[in-house]
Symmetry: C2
Subunit: 159 residues, 2 copies
Amino acid sequence: MTQTEIAIKMVLDRWIGSILNFNKHLNELSDEQLQREIATGKNRGIYLLGHLIAVHDDMLILLGIGEKLFPELNEPFIKEADRVAPQIPSASELRVMWVKHNEMLQEKFEKVTADEWFAKHTAVSEEDFLKEPHRNKLNIIITRTSHLQYHTGQLVLLK
Amino acid sequence: MTQTEIAIKMVLDRWIGSILNFNKHLNELSDEQLQREIATGKNRGIYLLGHLIAVHDDMLILLGIGEKLFPELNEPFIKEADRVAPQIPSASELRVMWVKHNEMLQEKFEKVTADEWFAKHTAVSEEDFLKEPHRNKLNIIITRTSHLQYHTGQLVLLK
């Protein structure tokens, strides 16, 4: 394995490990627990779940590997704060979407080659990318893993 | 820049970005706020701060780049749960330790070469490392960044 291949493996392993860790906690929470706020006056568990699906859906666009699976989640879970949207999917519906989304991402990630991971993501211009080659697709995985961990630290508080 | 150098930069940038983000939130919290629980019945902010310093201190050993700066934090902030140790440093003392620790780590990280980042960390055997070359020093940064983000998601709840 080259250092490049090892680096890609480490980043993807951390992503998968973070998803599995989130799943473990999510599966220990009932739909009723997801309706509760993670701390007084803060987001509800159900909002965090919808937010993560919506943010991960956006990764498809940034990585240029497909269309969003659930574009309808952008409005209630990214644009709007918790409790603003008049209607959102139920906790059990979001659980199904979450599992489906993870499987879809995993399949797509497996097809990305090493050179593609180091190619620019879709939100950076060719010109900027020449100066900042770290603004690549692999970096999207790195930053979104951080984001997932941040919210996992919140989800566990519902237990 | 080679792909290896880009990968190292991405991982270290994410580490530094996570530290700066934590600092931003920490500086917005008073010592009194740090005494509060992040959610009812959960860890206090002051415990999270001490825990992070202690975990980051352990990175020095794993990376083989020095001795712990604050070994006395291992007992109250890693081995023991919050409110178990009879006496812990004050919030203002921990803030000073945190800043000093970050500066020290940053200085040391800058001296690590690319090949050293891909060398084995101290908790894996030579034999296992041959089969699992991803168990290297750079991976310690990746996993500890995840850990830091997880607890940052909790610290912000004190605001």
